[in-house]
Protein backbone atom coordinates (compact mmCIF):
# COMPACT_ATOMS: atom_id res chain seq x y z
CA UNK A 1 0.00 0.00 0.00
CA UNK A 2 1.33 3.41 -0.91
CA UNK A 3 2.16 5.44 2.18
CA UNK A 4 4.15 8.37 0.85
CA UNK A 5 3.47 10.13 -2.44
CA UNK A 6 5.92 12.63 -3.84
CA UNK A 7 4.23 14.39 -6.77
CA UNK A 8 6.13 16.55 -9.25
CA UNK A 9 8.12 18.24 -6.53
CA UNK A 10 10.48 21.04 -7.56
CA UNK A 11 12.47 23.45 -5.47
CA UNK A 12 14.25 26.60 -6.54
CA UNK A 13 16.04 28.61 -3.88
CA UNK A 14 15.78 32.41 -4.20
CA UNK A 15 13.29 31.98 -7.04
CA UNK A 16 13.05 34.96 -9.43
CA UNK A 17 16.29 36.42 -8.15
CA UNK A 18 19.65 36.63 -9.89
CA UNK A 19 21.17 34.15 -7.45
CA UNK A 20 18.40 31.56 -7.81
CA UNK A 21 19.41 27.91 -7.67
CA UNK A 22 17.23 25.14 -9.00
CA UNK A 23 17.88 22.31 -6.55
CA UNK A 24 15.43 19.62 -7.70
CA UNK A 25 13.00 19.34 -10.60
CA UNK A 26 9.83 17.27 -11.05
CA UNK A 27 10.56 14.50 -8.61
CA UNK A 28 7.75 11.95 -8.39
CA UNK A 29 7.93 8.82 -6.31
CA UNK A 30 5.58 6.53 -4.40
CA UNK A 31 6.86 4.72 -1.34
CA UNK A 32 5.02 1.72 0.07
CA UNK A 33 4.38 1.02 3.69
CA UNK A 34 7.29 -0.91 5.20
CA UNK A 35 9.54 -0.10 2.27
CA UNK A 36 13.18 0.91 2.66
CA UNK A 37 14.23 3.25 -0.11
CA UNK A 38 17.64 4.82 -0.55
CA UNK A 39 18.50 7.95 -2.46
CA UNK A 40 21.95 8.28 -3.95
CA UNK A 41 23.28 11.10 -6.06
CA UNK A 42 26.27 13.36 -6.55
CA UNK A 43 27.15 16.06 -4.07
CA UNK A 44 24.80 18.99 -4.42
CA UNK A 45 22.06 17.11 -6.25
CA UNK A 46 19.36 18.18 -3.81
CA UNK A 47 19.00 14.94 -1.86
CA UNK A 48 18.83 16.81 1.41
CA UNK A 49 16.46 19.35 -0.12
CA UNK A 50 14.11 16.56 -1.10
CA UNK A 51 14.31 15.10 2.37
CA UNK A 52 13.63 18.40 4.07
CA UNK A 53 10.63 18.95 1.81
CA UNK A 54 9.23 15.53 2.73
CA UNK A 55 9.90 16.34 6.39
CA UNK A 56 7.92 19.56 6.02
CA UNK A 57 10.93 21.61 7.05
CA UNK A 58 11.02 23.57 3.78
CA UNK A 59 8.30 24.27 1.23
CA UNK A 60 8.55 23.01 -2.33
CA UNK A 61 8.33 25.61 -5.11
CA UNK A 62 5.96 23.28 -6.96
CA UNK A 63 4.36 19.92 -6.39
CA UNK A 64 3.14 18.26 -3.22
CA UNK A 65 3.83 15.57 -0.68
CA UNK A 66 1.08 13.30 0.65
CA UNK A 67 1.23 10.84 3.50
CA UNK A 68 -1.64 8.36 3.56
CA UNK A 69 -3.42 10.75 1.20
CA UNK A 70 -2.87 13.71 3.56
CA UNK A 71 -1.15 16.82 2.19
CA UNK A 72 2.07 17.68 4.04
CA UNK A 73 2.12 21.38 4.96
CA UNK A 74 4.74 21.42 7.71
CA UNK A 75 6.50 19.21 10.25
CA UNK A 76 4.23 16.39 11.40
CA UNK A 77 4.08 13.89 14.20
CA UNK A 78 4.18 10.91 11.86
CA UNK A 79 7.46 11.92 10.20
CA UNK A 80 10.68 11.32 12.07
CA UNK A 81 14.04 12.70 10.98
CA UNK A 82 17.58 11.50 11.73
CA UNK A 83 20.24 14.00 10.72
CA UNK A 84 23.82 13.45 9.64
CA UNK A 85 25.31 15.77 12.23
CA UNK A 86 25.48 14.75 15.84
CA UNK A 87 22.16 15.99 17.16
CA UNK A 88 22.24 14.39 20.60
CA UNK A 89 21.94 16.75 23.56
CA UNK A 90 25.11 16.67 25.66
CA UNK A 91 23.16 17.62 28.79
CA UNK A 92 20.93 14.56 28.59
CA UNK A 93 21.79 10.90 29.20
CA UNK A 94 21.13 8.32 26.46
CA UNK A 95 17.79 7.51 28.04
CA UNK A 96 16.84 11.17 28.41
CA UNK A 97 17.86 11.83 24.81
CA UNK A 98 15.73 8.94 23.54
CA UNK A 99 12.84 10.22 25.68
CA UNK A 100 13.17 13.76 24.34
CA UNK A 101 10.54 13.67 21.60
CA UNK A 102 7.94 11.90 23.71
CA UNK A 103 8.63 14.29 26.57
CA UNK A 104 8.06 17.26 24.26
CA UNK A 105 4.78 15.67 23.20
CA UNK A 106 3.75 15.55 26.82
CA UNK A 107 3.71 11.80 27.36
CA UNK A 108 3.73 10.76 31.03
CA UNK A 109 6.99 9.64 32.56
CA UNK A 110 6.03 6.05 33.37
CA UNK A 111 4.84 4.86 29.92
CA UNK A 112 7.56 6.98 28.32
CA UNK A 113 10.30 5.22 30.31
CA UNK A 114 8.91 1.80 29.41
CA UNK A 115 8.62 2.61 25.73
CA UNK A 116 12.12 4.11 25.64
CA UNK A 117 13.65 1.16 27.45
CA UNK A 118 12.36 -1.03 24.61
CA UNK A 119 13.88 1.39 22.10
CA UNK A 120 17.18 1.46 24.00
CA UNK A 121 17.30 -2.34 23.80
CA UNK A 122 16.28 -2.26 20.14
CA UNK A 123 19.08 0.11 19.10
CA UNK A 124 21.66 -1.72 21.18
CA UNK A 125 22.20 0.83 23.93
CA UNK A 126 21.30 -1.44 26.85
CA UNK A 127 23.73 -0.75 29.68
CA UNK A 128 24.39 2.79 28.45
CA UNK A 129 21.10 4.32 29.57
CA UNK A 130 22.76 6.66 32.05
CA UNK A 131 25.78 7.58 29.94
CA UNK A 132 26.09 11.12 28.64
CA UNK A 133 26.88 11.57 24.91
CA UNK A 134 30.45 12.64 25.68
CA UNK A 135 31.01 9.17 27.15
CA UNK A 136 29.83 7.49 23.93
CA UNK A 137 31.51 6.95 20.56
CA UNK A 138 30.18 8.64 17.41
CA UNK A 139 28.42 5.42 16.40
CA UNK A 140 26.76 5.08 19.78
CA UNK A 141 25.62 8.70 19.66
CA UNK A 142 24.01 8.06 16.29
CA UNK A 143 22.21 5.07 17.84
CA UNK A 144 20.87 7.51 20.43
CA UNK A 145 19.67 9.87 17.68
CA UNK A 146 18.01 6.98 15.82
CA UNK A 147 16.42 5.81 19.07
CA UNK A 148 15.08 9.31 19.73
CA UNK A 149 13.33 9.23 16.36
CA UNK A 150 12.11 5.61 16.61
CA UNK A 151 10.62 6.25 20.05
CA UNK A 152 8.09 8.53 18.37
CA UNK A 153 6.92 5.58 16.27
CA UNK A 154 6.86 7.64 13.06
CA UNK A 155 5.03 6.32 10.01
CA UNK A 156 8.03 7.37 7.96
CA UNK A 157 11.61 7.72 9.09
CA UNK A 158 13.80 10.05 7.04
CA UNK A 159 17.53 9.59 7.41
CA UNK A 160 19.96 12.08 5.93
CA UNK A 161 23.30 10.28 5.69
CA UNK A 162 23.02 9.19 9.30
CA UNK A 163 26.26 7.22 9.14
CA UNK A 164 28.11 9.74 6.99
CA UNK A 165 30.44 10.85 9.75
CA UNK A 166 31.33 7.33 10.90
CA UNK A 167 34.16 5.00 9.91
CA UNK A 168 33.58 2.14 7.47
CA UNK A 169 33.36 -0.67 10.02
CA UNK A 170 30.94 1.20 12.25
CA UNK A 171 28.86 2.04 9.18
CA UNK A 172 28.56 -1.63 8.24
CA UNK A 173 27.61 -2.71 11.72
CA UNK A 174 25.07 0.07 12.18
CA UNK A 175 23.70 -0.59 8.70
CA UNK A 176 23.05 -4.21 9.56
CA UNK A 177 21.39 -3.21 12.80
CA UNK A 178 19.26 -0.65 11.05
CA UNK A 179 18.16 -3.34 8.63
CA UNK A 180 17.15 -5.57 11.52
CA UNK A 181 15.32 -2.76 13.31
CA UNK A 182 13.38 -1.73 10.22
CA UNK A 183 12.37 -5.35 9.60
CA UNK A 184 11.30 -5.89 13.21
CA UNK A 185 9.22 -2.74 13.26
CA UNK A 186 8.17 -2.74 9.59
CA UNK A 187 9.52 0.81 9.52
CA UNK A 188 9.03 2.75 6.29
CA UNK A 189 12.35 4.48 5.68
CA UNK A 190 13.79 6.98 3.25
CA UNK A 191 17.56 6.87 3.49
CA UNK A 192 20.03 9.27 1.93
CA UNK A 193 23.57 8.05 1.42
CA UNK A 194 26.73 8.54 -0.60
CA UNK A 195 27.60 4.88 -0.40
CA UNK A 196 26.28 2.61 -3.15
CA UNK A 197 27.19 -0.46 -1.12
CA UNK A 198 25.21 0.83 1.81
CA UNK A 199 22.25 1.71 -0.42
CA UNK A 200 22.08 -1.74 -2.05
CA UNK A 201 22.72 -3.57 1.21
CA UNK A 202 19.84 -1.89 3.03
CA UNK A 203 17.21 -1.06 0.44
CA UNK A 204 14.22 -2.48 -1.38
CA UNK A 205 14.72 0.18 -4.03
CA UNK A 206 17.45 2.66 -4.82
CA UNK A 207 16.75 6.02 -6.43
CA UNK A 208 19.56 7.66 -8.38
CA UNK A 209 19.40 11.43 -8.69
CA UNK A 210 21.18 13.49 -11.33
CA UNK A 211 23.47 16.42 -10.69
CA UNK A 212 21.74 19.77 -10.14
CA UNK A 213 18.95 20.33 -10.87
CA UNK A 214 18.25 16.93 -9.36
CA UNK A 215 15.89 14.78 -11.38
CA UNK A 216 15.28 11.05 -11.09
CA UNK A 217 17.94 9.38 -13.19
CA UNK A 218 17.23 5.78 -12.34
CA UNK A 219 15.14 3.70 -9.97
CA UNK A 220 16.50 0.23 -9.27
CA UNK A 221 14.77 -2.67 -7.53
CA UNK A 222 17.01 -4.65 -5.23
CA UNK A 223 15.57 -8.17 -5.23
CA UNK A 224 18.23 -9.73 -3.12
CA UNK A 225 16.46 -11.95 -0.56
CA UNK A 226 16.50 -10.97 3.09
CA UNK A 227 17.95 -11.32 5.64
CA UNK A 228 21.08 -9.86 4.10
CA UNK A 229 24.19 -10.33 6.15
CA UNK A 230 27.33 -8.31 5.54
CA UNK A 231 28.62 -11.14 3.30
CA UNK A 232 25.91 -10.37 0.75
CA UNK A 233 28.17 -7.68 -0.68
CA UNK A 234 30.35 -10.37 -2.30
CA UNK A 235 27.52 -12.03 -4.28
CA UNK A 236 27.13 -11.57 -8.05
CA UNK A 237 23.63 -10.11 -7.77
CA UNK A 238 24.93 -7.49 -5.41
CA UNK A 239 27.82 -6.57 -7.69
CA UNK A 240 25.48 -6.41 -10.73
CA UNK A 241 23.21 -3.91 -9.00
CA UNK A 242 26.02 -1.71 -7.68
CA UNK A 243 27.58 -1.77 -11.17
CA UNK A 244 24.34 -0.60 -12.74
CA UNK A 245 23.96 2.13 -10.14
CA UNK A 246 27.53 3.25 -10.70
CA UNK A 247 26.89 3.39 -14.46
CA UNK A 248 24.00 5.81 -13.86
CA UNK A 249 25.89 7.77 -11.31
CA UNK A 250 29.34 8.11 -12.84
CA UNK A 251 28.51 10.79 -15.37
CA UNK A 252 26.37 12.68 -12.83
CA UNK A 253 29.10 12.53 -10.24
CA UNK A 254 31.44 14.11 -12.78
CA UNK A 255 28.95 16.87 -13.52
CA UNK A 256 28.29 17.37 -9.84
CA UNK A 257 31.98 17.76 -9.25
CA UNK A 258 32.23 20.38 -11.97
CA UNK A 259 29.39 22.37 -10.45
CA UNK A 260 31.31 22.03 -7.20
CA UNK A 261 28.95 24.13 -5.19
CA UNK A 262 28.61 22.77 -1.70
CA UNK A 263 25.38 20.95 -0.92
CA UNK A 264 23.11 23.13 1.14
Amino acid sequence: MTLLEIEDVSKTYNANQPNSVEAIRDISLDIDEGEFISIVGPTGCGKSTLMEIVAGLIEPTAGEIRIGGDLVTGPREDIGVVFQEDSTFPWRTSMENVEFGLEMRGQDKQPRRERCQEIIDLVGLAGFEDAYPNELSGGMRQRVAIGRTLALNPAIMLMDEPFGALDEQTRLILGEELLRICRETNQTTMFITHSLTEAVHLSDRVLVMSARPGVIKDLVDVDIPRPRGADVVTTDEFTDITDRLWESLREEAQRGLEQSIPER
Partner: protein, 267 residues
Amino acid sequence: MATQEQSVFDVEWFDPIMAGRIAVPIGVLVAWELLSIWLGSALLPGPEDTLAVIQQGIGAGWIVGNLQNTMITLAVGFLISVAGGLALGMVLGFVQSAFDVFEIYVLSTYSVPKIVLYPIFLFIFQLGMDTKIAFGAAHGLFPMLIITMGAIREIDEIYKKVARSLQMGRWQLFRHIVFPFILVQLVVALRLAFSLTFLGVILAELFASKSGLGLILQHAMANFNTGRIMAVVTILMVIAIIGNLFFYAAQRVLERRWNMTANTGGI
Protein backbone atom coordinates in the same frame (compact mmCIF):
# COMPACT_ATOMS: atom_id res chain seq x y z
CA MET B 1 61.32 -5.86 50.59
CA ALA B 2 60.40 -3.86 47.54
CA THR B 3 62.83 -4.46 44.73
CA GLN B 4 61.60 -1.48 42.81
CA GLU B 5 62.66 2.00 43.74
CA GLN B 6 59.74 4.13 44.76
CA SER B 7 59.50 7.87 44.87
CA VAL B 8 58.09 9.25 48.08
CA PHE B 9 55.40 10.95 46.02
CA ASP B 10 54.36 7.70 44.40
CA VAL B 11 51.63 6.84 46.88
CA GLU B 12 47.91 6.66 46.44
CA TRP B 13 46.79 9.44 48.73
CA PHE B 14 49.12 11.99 47.20
CA ASP B 15 47.54 14.20 44.56
CA PRO B 16 50.22 16.51 43.12
CA ILE B 17 47.72 18.96 41.65
CA MET B 18 45.83 19.35 44.89
CA ALA B 19 49.13 19.67 46.76
CA GLY B 20 50.20 22.40 44.36
CA ARG B 21 46.93 24.23 44.84
CA ILE B 22 47.36 24.15 48.60
CA ALA B 23 51.01 25.19 48.31
CA VAL B 24 50.24 28.42 46.41
CA PRO B 25 48.34 30.29 49.17
CA ILE B 26 50.85 29.02 51.73
CA GLY B 27 53.62 30.39 49.51
CA VAL B 28 51.83 33.73 49.25
CA LEU B 29 51.51 33.93 53.03
CA VAL B 30 55.20 33.10 53.47
CA ALA B 31 56.19 35.69 50.86
CA TRP B 32 53.98 38.27 52.56
CA GLU B 33 55.63 37.47 55.91
CA LEU B 34 59.14 37.69 54.45
CA LEU B 35 58.35 40.96 52.65
CA SER B 36 56.94 42.35 55.90
CA ILE B 37 60.13 41.41 57.77
CA TRP B 38 62.25 42.96 55.04
CA LEU B 39 60.30 46.22 54.77
CA GLY B 40 59.48 46.40 58.47
CA SER B 41 56.03 45.80 59.89
CA ALA B 42 55.33 49.54 60.16
CA LEU B 43 55.47 49.83 56.37
CA LEU B 44 53.96 46.44 55.55
CA PRO B 45 52.23 44.64 58.42
CA GLY B 46 52.60 40.87 58.20
CA PRO B 47 49.79 38.29 58.29
CA GLU B 48 49.58 38.01 62.07
CA ASP B 49 49.63 41.82 62.55
CA THR B 50 46.85 42.13 59.98
CA LEU B 51 44.79 39.47 61.71
CA ALA B 52 45.21 41.38 64.95
CA VAL B 53 43.98 44.60 63.28
CA ILE B 54 40.95 42.74 61.92
CA GLN B 55 40.15 41.34 65.38
CA GLN B 56 40.55 44.79 66.87
CA GLY B 57 38.38 46.28 64.10
CA ILE B 58 35.58 43.83 64.72
CA GLY B 59 35.68 44.73 68.40
CA ALA B 60 35.84 48.47 67.71
CA GLY B 61 32.96 48.22 65.24
CA TRP B 62 34.40 49.75 62.06
CA ILE B 63 34.51 46.46 60.19
CA VAL B 64 31.13 44.78 60.66
CA GLY B 65 28.89 47.68 59.66
CA ASN B 66 30.97 48.63 56.64
CA LEU B 67 31.40 45.02 55.59
CA GLN B 68 27.65 44.58 55.78
CA ASN B 69 27.14 47.73 53.74
CA THR B 70 29.58 46.64 51.05
CA MET B 71 28.10 43.12 50.89
CA ILE B 72 24.51 44.37 50.55
CA THR B 73 25.60 46.81 47.86
CA LEU B 74 27.45 44.01 46.09
CA ALA B 75 24.50 41.61 46.34
CA VAL B 76 21.92 44.07 45.03
CA GLY B 77 24.24 45.33 42.28
CA PHE B 78 25.03 41.75 41.28
CA LEU B 79 21.35 40.80 41.06
CA ILE B 80 20.59 43.86 38.94
CA SER B 81 23.54 43.21 36.63
CA VAL B 82 22.51 39.56 36.20
CA ALA B 83 18.85 40.31 35.53
CA GLY B 84 19.60 43.21 33.22
CA GLY B 85 22.44 41.43 31.41
CA LEU B 86 20.33 38.31 30.88
CA ALA B 87 17.37 40.26 29.54
CA LEU B 88 19.39 42.45 27.20
CA GLY B 89 21.64 39.55 26.17
CA MET B 90 18.61 37.51 25.18
CA VAL B 91 17.16 40.33 23.12
CA LEU B 92 20.45 40.83 21.29
CA GLY B 93 21.01 37.08 21.00
CA PHE B 94 17.61 36.27 19.54
CA VAL B 95 16.80 39.39 17.52
CA GLN B 96 19.16 39.69 14.59
CA SER B 97 18.30 43.31 13.80
CA ALA B 98 18.93 44.35 17.42
CA PHE B 99 22.27 42.54 17.28
CA ASP B 100 23.22 44.23 14.02
CA VAL B 101 22.49 47.69 15.42
CA PHE B 102 23.71 47.44 19.01
CA GLU B 103 26.57 44.91 19.08
CA ILE B 104 29.25 47.45 18.22
CA TYR B 105 27.97 49.89 20.86
CA VAL B 106 27.78 47.23 23.53
CA LEU B 107 31.36 46.15 22.87
CA SER B 108 32.62 49.75 22.72
CA THR B 109 30.85 50.74 25.93
CA TYR B 110 32.29 47.67 27.61
CA SER B 111 35.79 48.85 26.80
CA VAL B 112 35.26 52.36 28.25
CA PRO B 113 36.86 52.67 31.70
CA LYS B 114 33.61 53.24 33.53
CA ILE B 115 35.26 55.20 36.32
CA VAL B 116 35.25 58.23 34.01
CA LEU B 117 31.45 58.04 34.08
CA TYR B 118 31.29 58.01 37.87
CA PRO B 119 30.55 61.74 38.19
CA ILE B 120 27.50 61.21 36.00
CA PHE B 121 26.34 58.38 38.26
CA LEU B 122 26.76 60.75 41.20
CA PHE B 123 24.66 63.44 39.54
CA ILE B 124 21.88 61.00 38.83
CA PHE B 125 21.81 58.86 41.98
CA GLN B 126 23.35 61.23 44.57
CA LEU B 127 25.93 60.21 47.11
CA GLY B 128 24.85 56.99 48.83
CA MET B 129 24.05 53.33 48.32
CA ASP B 130 22.12 53.88 45.10
CA THR B 131 25.15 55.22 43.27
CA LYS B 132 27.34 52.37 44.42
CA ILE B 133 24.72 49.80 43.44
CA ALA B 134 24.20 51.37 40.04
CA PHE B 135 27.92 51.71 39.42
CA GLY B 136 28.59 48.10 40.45
CA ALA B 137 25.69 46.85 38.32
CA ALA B 138 26.96 48.84 35.33
CA HIS B 139 30.23 46.92 35.59
CA GLY B 140 28.66 43.49 36.00
CA LEU B 141 26.03 43.99 33.31
CA PHE B 142 28.45 43.79 30.39
CA PRO B 143 29.97 40.33 30.79
CA MET B 144 26.49 38.98 31.50
CA LEU B 145 25.06 40.66 28.41
CA ILE B 146 27.91 39.83 26.05
CA ILE B 147 28.24 36.19 27.09
CA THR B 148 24.47 35.56 27.05
CA MET B 149 24.21 37.14 23.61
CA GLY B 150 27.15 35.13 22.26
CA ALA B 151 25.97 31.84 23.75
CA ILE B 152 22.49 32.16 22.26
CA ARG B 153 23.92 32.95 18.84
CA GLU B 154 26.14 29.89 19.05
CA ILE B 155 23.29 27.39 19.37
CA ASP B 156 23.84 24.77 16.69
CA GLU B 157 21.58 24.88 13.62
CA ILE B 158 21.03 21.15 14.02
CA TYR B 159 19.23 21.67 17.35
CA LYS B 160 16.93 24.18 15.73
CA LYS B 161 16.14 21.63 13.01
CA VAL B 162 15.43 18.98 15.62
CA ALA B 163 13.15 21.42 17.42
CA ARG B 164 11.29 22.23 14.23
CA SER B 165 10.89 18.63 13.17
CA LEU B 166 9.45 17.90 16.62
CA GLN B 167 7.12 20.91 16.33
CA MET B 168 8.40 22.32 19.60
CA GLY B 169 6.88 25.58 20.80
CA ARG B 170 8.92 28.67 21.68
CA TRP B 171 8.84 28.04 25.40
CA GLN B 172 9.78 24.37 24.93
CA LEU B 173 12.65 25.43 22.71
CA PHE B 174 13.86 27.85 25.35
CA ARG B 175 13.37 25.55 28.32
CA HIS B 176 14.75 22.35 26.79
CA ILE B 177 17.34 23.48 24.26
CA VAL B 178 18.39 27.13 24.61
CA PHE B 179 18.66 27.20 28.39
CA PRO B 180 20.65 23.98 28.88
CA PHE B 181 22.82 24.90 25.90
CA ILE B 182 23.83 28.28 27.32
CA LEU B 183 23.93 27.19 30.98
CA VAL B 184 27.67 26.46 31.21
CA GLN B 185 28.49 29.83 29.71
CA LEU B 186 25.95 31.55 31.95
CA VAL B 187 27.83 30.24 34.96
CA VAL B 188 31.02 31.80 33.58
CA ALA B 189 29.07 35.00 32.99
CA LEU B 190 27.87 34.93 36.61
CA ARG B 191 31.44 34.60 37.82
CA LEU B 192 32.64 37.53 35.72
CA ALA B 193 29.59 39.61 36.61
CA PHE B 194 30.31 38.98 40.28
CA SER B 195 33.96 40.01 39.92
CA LEU B 196 33.19 43.14 37.94
CA THR B 197 30.26 44.23 40.12
CA PHE B 198 32.61 43.89 43.08
CA LEU B 199 35.19 46.00 41.26
CA GLY B 200 32.56 48.65 40.49
CA VAL B 201 31.31 48.78 44.08
CA ILE B 202 34.81 49.12 45.56
CA LEU B 203 35.78 51.74 42.96
CA ALA B 204 32.68 53.74 43.84
CA GLU B 205 33.46 53.48 47.54
CA LEU B 206 37.07 54.53 47.02
CA PHE B 207 36.15 57.42 44.79
CA ALA B 208 33.27 59.04 46.63
CA SER B 209 30.93 57.40 49.10
CA LYS B 210 29.57 57.64 52.62
CA SER B 211 30.10 54.07 53.75
CA GLY B 212 31.64 50.69 52.96
CA LEU B 213 35.01 48.98 53.17
CA GLY B 214 36.25 50.93 50.16
CA LEU B 215 35.70 54.16 52.07
CA ILE B 216 37.62 52.76 55.07
CA LEU B 217 40.42 51.80 52.71
CA GLN B 218 40.47 55.27 51.19
CA HIS B 219 40.66 56.90 54.66
CA ALA B 220 43.36 54.47 55.74
CA MET B 221 45.36 55.31 52.63
CA ALA B 222 44.96 59.05 53.25
CA ASN B 223 46.20 58.61 56.84
CA PHE B 224 48.84 56.06 55.89
CA ASN B 225 47.32 53.60 58.36
CA THR B 226 49.06 50.52 56.98
CA GLY B 227 47.46 48.14 59.48
CA ARG B 228 43.98 49.11 58.33
CA ILE B 229 44.98 49.07 54.68
CA MET B 230 46.16 45.49 54.94
CA ALA B 231 43.12 44.49 57.02
CA VAL B 232 40.65 45.83 54.46
CA VAL B 233 42.64 44.46 51.53
CA THR B 234 42.68 41.03 53.16
CA ILE B 235 38.92 41.06 53.78
CA LEU B 236 38.18 42.18 50.20
CA MET B 237 40.45 39.50 48.78
CA VAL B 238 38.77 36.80 50.83
CA ILE B 239 35.34 37.91 49.55
CA ALA B 240 36.55 37.95 45.96
CA ILE B 241 38.20 34.54 46.22
CA ILE B 242 35.22 32.87 47.89
CA GLY B 243 32.79 34.29 45.32
CA ASN B 244 34.97 33.22 42.43
CA LEU B 245 35.59 29.74 43.78
CA PHE B 246 31.87 29.19 44.16
CA PHE B 247 31.04 29.99 40.53
CA TYR B 248 34.18 28.32 39.24
CA ALA B 249 33.25 25.10 41.03
CA ALA B 250 29.75 25.22 39.50
CA GLN B 251 31.27 25.75 36.06
CA ARG B 252 33.64 22.80 36.45
CA VAL B 253 30.85 20.49 37.61
CA LEU B 254 28.77 21.29 34.51
CA GLU B 255 31.74 21.12 32.15
CA ARG B 256 32.85 17.72 33.43
CA ARG B 257 29.41 16.22 33.41
CA TRP B 258 28.50 17.30 29.89
CA ASN B 259 31.96 17.74 28.47
CA MET B 260 30.92 21.17 27.28
CA THR B 261 33.56 23.84 27.36
CA ALA B 262 32.57 27.32 28.35
CA ASN B 263 33.31 29.86 25.67
CA THR B 264 33.29 33.32 27.11
CA GLY B 265 32.44 35.11 23.87
CA GLY B 266 35.52 37.27 23.59
CA ILE B 267 35.65 38.54 27.17
